[in-house]
Subunit: 322 residues, 2 copies
């Protein structure tokens, strides 16, 4: 599939009156940051633009939603343009699929290289560190005056998806865009505080407990921890509070693979896998999951004890093979 | 005091045959990254350059020392040039003060605005996010071919001193330099893994224990935790493993001030203070300590219990005043 140009996509948006934007379910900083920057830009150009969502905006991202997010999908059916950002498959916004399809023109802007391109117009670039980078280019093509709010939202998208510019996806372009955002008034510190310095005490206690009980195995090359429903209750935490734990585990010296097992419900264990150097997507795929080389996941429908045993065995075998 | 130009400083370095570089005691990523980039550059130009140190290079920074660091100070007395980086006072390298003073020409490059300028040539810029940024400009002025090793060291300096580009000191220039470093071969991921993904399991368990036992007070606006000598023994950790804990505590929602009390020895309690919005340097100064607005410290010569009470009272009063 060949990409359309940002100029073509900008042309479609400029001609439209009503636009509905679709971030993916379980939205992250890149999904909502990209959607918010685009929504703000479109409204500044006099368009009737909204972000359609089907799940709650997480606490740490709520500062990005300046009255953009709508849940009342029926009211917004048949927009001039439907545009999905940071995702490119209907199953990534299942309850909104009908609304997306009702758009007269459908557009997809995504940085997941595996996206099939479900739009009439598509821009998919697997090399971009964040969809926020592509939205920045789109805003330039729209000849929109990028203001501080858009700059902060694009920054939020890039900093979260690059792990503060640390992950292997970070590029020269990521820094170049941020540099340009400063010229547009970027408040990088304020945005970082909103994103990263609003952790709940419950979350931090849950993290501490998980790490304290974690087990190193495979000669120190792997580490595994568990979050049970009982633990959530004990610490007054929510499953979304597990965000970040597996990354912390991976950062331990000598660890190549970190695994966090999360009890979604009894007999339904979600495994999150992270690799420092190797490839964990193969392990996830073996359990009918998927993901990227360095970040993948799968679900095991069994008890925590069995899930733990199965995953530890698979990880040990993978590490022996290397 | 007026700064010399980088051109003048570069001229002094170019004329020199032997150069000794001085990072500060308890070196951090900016001190050693700056020193390593400069040492590598000088050696590439055929100079006899070393980094004089008086304390151990921390584990997470050892990848930066490619045979540059020397402890045998006597052997390097009377160099053509002594240059201190990321510090500008003799008390910041007390055991090396004589060696520094023995240099025929003394230079100081620092980003601590309060540095008095102890060199014959000085470049002190309190607005630079890291001394690494100034070293980059100095290398350009030296017309040195910046290679991947220098690029990685400068990146290490900038990313550590800006807290991965999150702290309030981060500027447009920080990102611009990193962007240019990519053109010189920067391995940002490899450097980040070396810096941040080599944590000891003992350190992580110590962090978890401290956070688990921490106490929120002043109506949720402050949080305090302790690291005792007993805890270090229990977890097999070292005092340097406390790095990062107070920053994690500050990141809790609603918390304005975080305090970590560290028992250096019985009756000698070091308090590290971090502010999200307010100013903690005033509190530290009241206990004869010092530091910056958002990161300060002091020592209380009393028991942990008394130190805790005194600091909690001072912090509560400060927060009431705001």
């Amino acid at each position: 599939m060949k990409n359309n140009s940002f100029k073509e996509i900008a042309g479609q948006l400029k001609e439209a009156g009503s636009i509905v934007i679709f971030p993916h379910i379980l939205m992250d900083g890149d999904a909502l940051g990209s959607a918010a920057a685009l929504c703000c830009a479109l409204r500044s150009m006099g368009k009737d633009a909204v972000i359609a969502v089907e799940d709650k905006v997480p606490d740490y991202l709520q500062f990005l939603d300046k009255g953009y997010c709508i849940y009342d999908l029926e009211k917004y059916m048949n927009p001039d343009v439907s545009i999905c950002v940071d995702c490119g498959e209907l199953k990534r916004f299942p309850e909104r699929a009908e609304l997306f399809k009702s758009g007269k023109t459908k557009i997809c802007v995504d940085h997941h290289g595996t996206s099939p391109g479900i739009g009439d117009y598509n821009y998919i670039d697997g090399k971009a560190a964040a969809t926020g980078e592509l939205i920045y280019d789109l805003l330039l093509a729209m000849e929109c005056d990028i203001d501080v709010e858009m700059a902060n939202a694009i920054y939020a998208a890039i900093t979260t998806d690059t792990g503060n510019f640390q992950y292997s996806n970070t590029t020269r372009r990521s820094h170049e865009i941020v540099m340009e955002l400063y010229d547009l008034g970027l408040d990088s510190y304020g945005t970082s505080v909103s994103l990263y310095e609003n952790e709940s005490f419950e979350k931090m206690k849950l993290q501490s407990a998980a790490i304290n009980d974690s087990e190193v195995f495979a000669e120190g090359k792997a580490i595994i921890a568990e979050i049970s429903l009982d633990m959530l209750e004990q610490y007054g935490a929510r499953m979304e509070d597990t965000e970040g734990i597996v990354g912390m585990m991976r950062s331990i010296k000598g660890v190549d693979i970190a695994i966090l097992l999360k009890e979604k419900e009894p007999g339904n264990i979600k495994a999150s896998l992270r690799a420092k150097h190797g490839d964990v997507s193969k392990i996830a795929v073996a359990f009918k999951g998927g993901g990227h080389e360095k970040a993948a996941g799968c679900t095991i429908y069994d008890s925590m004890a069995v899930a733990r045993e199965l995953i530890m065995k698979a990880v040990s075998e993978e590490l022996c093979r290397e």
